[in-house]
Amino acid sequence: MHIIVCIKQVPDSAQIRVHPVTNTIMRQGVPTIINPYDLFALEEALRLRDEHGGEVTCVTMGPPMADNALRKCLTYGADRAVLLTDRFFAGSDTLATSYALALLIKKVAENWGEPDLIFCGKQTIDGDTAQVGPGIAKRLKLLQLTYVAKIEEFDLEKREITIHRRAEGGIQVLKTKLPCLVTMLEGTNEMRRGTMGDALRAARSEIITWNAAAAGITELALCGLKGSPTIVKKVYAPSPRAEKAYQIEVEDKSVDQICEALIGEVTKRQPGLEKDLVKTSSDY
């Protein structure tokens, strides 16, 4: 069995700052991490491999430094890692990204076997679009299963997979044929630690690095900025609220007095609310 997992190295959004004057991202010192959602995908892939045998290949398209993220995947236990990096890919939107990744996956398949499954994260925390997974599936003419909460059954012989998919108000139980593309929901599993053996192997491994040509990508007009139908026209910081919160006096006040003051403030600012609360409040 061969499983391909798409991972992306992203800036840790908790650490991002915006330059107050130019409104650009101050990248200085912002650490990068593996997109947290992709770890759920990777763990699921590793689990299936451990159960059914085979190999897991992690792929990413990104800057040369993204090899860090890939090496980490190897530390977790992935068998192989491929980095697609080339200046032609700079400025890709989701359409151009899915184009490049689809061709990358084809090349990986040529080298190491057709994938039975392709995994993606639910979404990234920087792009945050959840579009790349479906985009890859479409380009490779694969079936897609998004927001997968659980893999219920995986039958390599019958080439069938049954999964739980998170939908509005409930779970869809879907069954489809392999090969297909799965995007994993968060919280579905917990990333393993990786043994010392994995860690040593990862440290010794080469990250297979391809440029566009090596990956067989020749239609550069479909890549990067050129191949992106969307453009970012304007970036700006959300306008901050003019004033800070109105503070309820707490010095020398009892808790009850504080609560009364708060309720007073709430009813003043949301006049109709209390009446509606009386209607809906579960106590009555």
Binding site: G29, G194, L200
Partner: protein
């Protein structure tokens, strides 16, 4: 996993571990370096000063791609009381030289860069892996390490402890004791982000010029310690630290001190409008020469902060770390080249080489200083007196200069008495000599 064996295992990827692993790998030894942080530098307090010389010896062309923030052209030393400071500034265009001598750096980035060099030199570096204990044979010789990852012991002829100030691995193995609270300072530090133009304007800088401010005085509320302010490209590092024993004794919190420091009328305007992103606490070994533990034994050796190699007076640490790491590696590589065993008697050349270097010479010079510095008056009374004196002197109020002079001298003697004053001065002078 088959048994893995290396020439050397280095525990820790701070400046000392990196210097050591780099040199060993360059000399052709097989090296495994283990770091518990997510990446090298991730556990290290950000924002620091890099002394170029020690790094040049390892990576002569480091200026080409190391993540350096600003080169320092001005040093300020402030003696502060609650409302004022009295200080000395030295600024020179000479520091705008082709190969500047000191830089501000951000450790998280710098250590990562350093580590890439270590990997490129051929060492195996594994992060997110904590060494839990040393493995020893029947004779007590260290033969490898165990980690918090599942899998068996990894073996090596020698384990280098570059684990930083806590020295836990070494202590756990009974090779040394953990540092005592009165030899370790706890420093807290924040990064305040500001546009580089704002920093340039506030500190009178241009391009990649930077300023360093070292401070002492009532900001530590009588405890032995200092504060600092460093300019990075787009941020200011501000921190303060005191001996751990003092914190316990005085029931002060490091964070409380830092808050007060930031509110000081001379400091606040420097930080105005900034966004705080990092808050971190870290220990600094300040025991000096007398606190240095046993540095080597059968199959093991200590470098960097783990060996208390910090010159607290001059605020030098990373350069001592790099230098001890390099000297250790050179010693090991020489032993290896001669086919000699990594035992205590052969490794004693490490200590001998250290004694010959500036590291031990500097630390020895200041060996008595830690005791002398443990003097409340240095941090409360004197700053106050200085400030009062300066005010008396500079305020133009119709009082003649001679009377002013008398008043200043009197105020010193009145507050500290002749014996106290003399004692402080003599103690200080002796420790410095």
């Amino acid at each position: 996993m088959a048994d893995e064996k290396f020439d050397v295992i280095v525990v820790g990827a701070g400046p000392s571990g990196n210097a050591c692993a780099l040199t060993l790998a360059q000399r052709g030894l097989s090296v495994l370096q283990l770091e518990r942080g997510e990446y090298p530098g991730s556990k290290n307090v950000q924002g620091a000063i890099l002394y170029a010389n020690a790094l040049e010896k390892l990576i002569p062309d480091f200026r080409e791609d190391a993540p350096l923030e600003r080169h320092i052209i001005e040093q300020r030393i402030w003696m502060m009381d609650d409302r004022s400071y009295c200080g000395a500034h030295y600024r020179s265009d000479d520091f705008n030289e082709e190969q500047p001598n000191r830089y501000t750096i951000i450790r998280a980035q710098f250590d990562k860069w350093f580590s890439r060099r270590v990997v490129a030199a051929g060492a195996l570096v594994i992060c997110e892996t904590t060494v839990t204990e040393l493995a020893r044979d029947g004779n007590g010789k260290v033969i490898g390490v165990n980690t918090d990852r599942s899998g068996s012991t990894i073996y090596a002829d020698l384990v280098v402890l570059a684990e930083g100030v806590s020295g836990l691995v070494g202590a756990r193995a009974g090779l040394r004791s953990v540092p005592k609270p009165d030899t370790v300072a706890l420093a807290v530090k924040e990064m305040h982000f500001l546009p580089s133009e704002t920093i340039d304007a506030r500190f009178n800088l241009q391009g990649s010029e930077g300023v360093v401010i070292e401070t002492a005085g009532t900001i530590t509320k009588g405890m032995t310690g200092t504060g600092f302010i460093y300019t990075n490209k787009e941020s200011i590092s501000i921190g303060i630290g005191c001996l751990i024993s003092d914190f316990t004794e005085n029931q002060e919190t490091p964070y409380g001190l830092l808050e007060a420091f930031k509110q000081h009328p001379s400091v606040k305007p420097l930080l105005a409008g900034s966004e705080v992103k990092e808050y971190a606490a870290h220990m600094i070994p300040e025991g000096g020469y007398k606190a240095i533990p046993q540095l080597f034994g059968d199959g093991w050796l200590i470098v960097g902060d783990a060996g208390q190699f910090v010159n607290a007076v001059h605020r030098e640490g990373s350069n001592l770390a790099m230098t001890t790491g390099r000297i250790a590696a050179e010693t090991i590589a020489d032993l290896k080249a001669n086919g000699w065993a990594m035992n205590a008697s052969n490794l004693s050349t490490y200590k001998a080489r250290l004694d010959e270097s500036f590291v031990m010479k500097d630390l020895k010079k200041y060996r008595n200083l830690p005791n002398v510095m443990h003097n409340k008056h240095l941090f409360t009374t004197y700053p106050q007196l200085l400030s009062n004196a300066a005010q008396t002197w500079f305020r133009v109020d119709g009082v003649d200069k001679k009377s002013k002079e008398n008043a200043i001298v009197k105020s010193f003697f009145k507050t500290r008495k002749v014996r106290g004053l003399l004692g402080d001065v003599i103690g200080m002078a002796r420790a410095w000599r």
